[in-house]
């Protein structure tokens, strides 16, 4: 990809996302959730989306708001059910959203495989459980593995701490989570950051997402975080 575009608003950053897209959405709970990009996506209007994310929304913000707006056809995630996932829960029970549950590490590895050009991989996770039913298995070195395929996105929406004008990203603490791997797995990668800094300001040893993976970058005001109760 060529050098990232630094945009002024989240609305510009999500422009052009089409109906029916598969959208990778970073975050683990609220940490690393790209709130501003999701809000802009709701305004942008893309419909019939498949969302790939670890969770299926909390409270009425972020992914939950996108779900509530009726834009999501299917969720691929590891852990939809949370204490405050009532928006998703309601839609799911009403048959208004489809769900594919994937073990968390397999979700991360399938995204990585997409980004790394791996066609499929034999994974030990989930063997002998309902989540491996119907999947190809193979015994390797005496252990059973299940064949898993890449998950790629049309778009990835992620949140990072700082980005430079080339598109290099650094994250903050456990808000890093799915951002770096999703950034490798989508055709168009959009990152919201707290601050855009000049190229050369980030330590090249500490860049987590190299600029090659980032297409669009937008600085957003400090995040409207809330801290949840227990999972």
């Amino acid at each position: 990809m060529s050098r990232a575009l630094v945009l002024d608003t989240a609305d510009e950053a999500v422009a052009g996302i089409e109906d029916g897209s598969t959208v990778l959405v970073g975050g683990f709970g609220l940490a690393g959730m790209p709130f501003d990009l999701i809000d802009a996506l709701i305004r942008q209007g893309a419909d019939d989306l498949t969302i790939v994310s670890n969770n299926a929304g909390n409270g009425t913000v972020g992914l939950a708001a996108l779900l509530e707006a009726g834009r999501v056809r299917k969720v691929i995630c590891s852990f939809p059910r949370q204490t405050d996932s009532y928006v998703f829960d309601g839609l799911y029970r009403a048959g208004k959203v489809a769900l594919e549950v994937v073990p968390q590490g397999t979700l991360a590895e399938r995204l990585r495989a997409a980004g790394a050009g791996i066609g499929a991989f034999f994974c030990p996770t989930g063997v002998g459980t309902p989540l491996a039913e119907g999947k190809e298995t193979r015994v390797l070195g005496g252990r059973t593995f299940v064949l898993e395929y890449p998950i790629s996105g049309d778009v990835a929406l992620i949140s990072a701490f700082k980005g430079d004008t080339l598109g290099n990203l650094v994250y903050r603490k456990t808000a890093r989570n799915f951002g770096p791997v999703m950034a490798t797995a989508a055709r168009t990668v959009v990152a919201q950051v707290n601050e855009v800094v000049p190229a050369g300001s980030l330590d090249p040893e500490a860049v987590i997402t190299p600029s090659i993976y980032v297409d669009r970058l937008v600085a957003v005001p400090a995040r409207r975080y809330i801290v949840e109760g227990a999972r």
Binding site: S78, P80, D89, T106, E109, T129, T174, R176, I226
Partner: protein, 230 residues
């Protein structure tokens, strides 16, 4: 490691502690903490297992992993310490210890899946006598399935400890000949810590390490399984 005066120090001398009632959750957490070798890398599952951390002092040298991308996780954060970017697998705010490291999700689960964690401690609905684990889904039709990192942890750590009560509130055994709930992992549990007994899962079946407030014979009868002694 934390000293815990309420639990016999000498495992080998007394397997059956029939004089003392079932362990409280806190006593059980202390017992698990004491059994974790110094310097281990450990993941504590959501819920009850989190309590084990309260009994792992700095002197234990135990390093905690959280699936959402961190080694060197410290105690729960309070007040000013709360940072929305620093949470544990249960999405509660935590702290960072000296020597911590952050990494992304693919790296975090590569660490698990690759067998690098020494111990994980998980809750469970059921464990079979062959070490099958059921802890993610009750099998109810209208339940929304949600697995999170449970399956990855179950097959990834060198030792998988289960922490649970030995019976449900209704008195049904949770150590069973074969799990009736959907499985999380096959033959993955190495030790079962419960209020009434600590059991090793061996190739020859379940072996009682210790019992609390009940004899091995009583427990075998209530569980309807056979239980060896070391």
């Amino acid at each position: 490691m934390a000293a815990s005066s309420s639990i016999p120090k000498d495992h080998s001398a007394a397997i059956e502690h029939t004089d003392r009632g079932p362990l409280t959750a806190d006593e059980l957490a202390a017992l698990i903490a004491r059994d974790i070798p110094a310097g281990s890398y450990v993941n504590l599952g959501i819920g009850q297992p989190t309590r084990v951390a309260d009994h792992l002092g700095p002197s234990s040298g135990v390093v905690l992993h959280t699936e959402n991308g961190m080694l060197g996780m410290g105690p729960a954060a309070a007040g000013e310490q709360v940072d929305p970017d620093l949470i544990n697998a249960g999405k509660l705010p935590v702290t960072e210890l000296p020597g911590a490291a952050y990494f992304h999700h693919a790296d975090s689960f590569a660490m698990m899946r690759g067998g690098h964690l020494d111990v994980c401690v998980l809750g469970a609905f059921q464990v079979s006598v062959t070490g099958d684990l059921a802890n993610w889904h009750t099998g109810e039709r209208d339940a929304i399935p949600a697995v999170g990192g449970a399956m990855d942890l179950a097959i990834g750590a060198k030792d998988v400890y289960v922490m649970m009560t030995l019976f449900t509130k209704d008195g049904a055994p949770k150590v069973v000949p074969a799990c009736t709930y959907p499985l999380t992992g096959v033959r993955c549990v190495t030790r079962i810590y419960t209020d009434l007994a600590v059991l090793d899962v061996t190739p020859h079946g379940v072996v009682a390490r210790q019992t609390f407030g009940a004899s091995i014979a009583e427990l075998q009868a209530r569980l309807n399984i056979t239980m060896d002694t070391p």
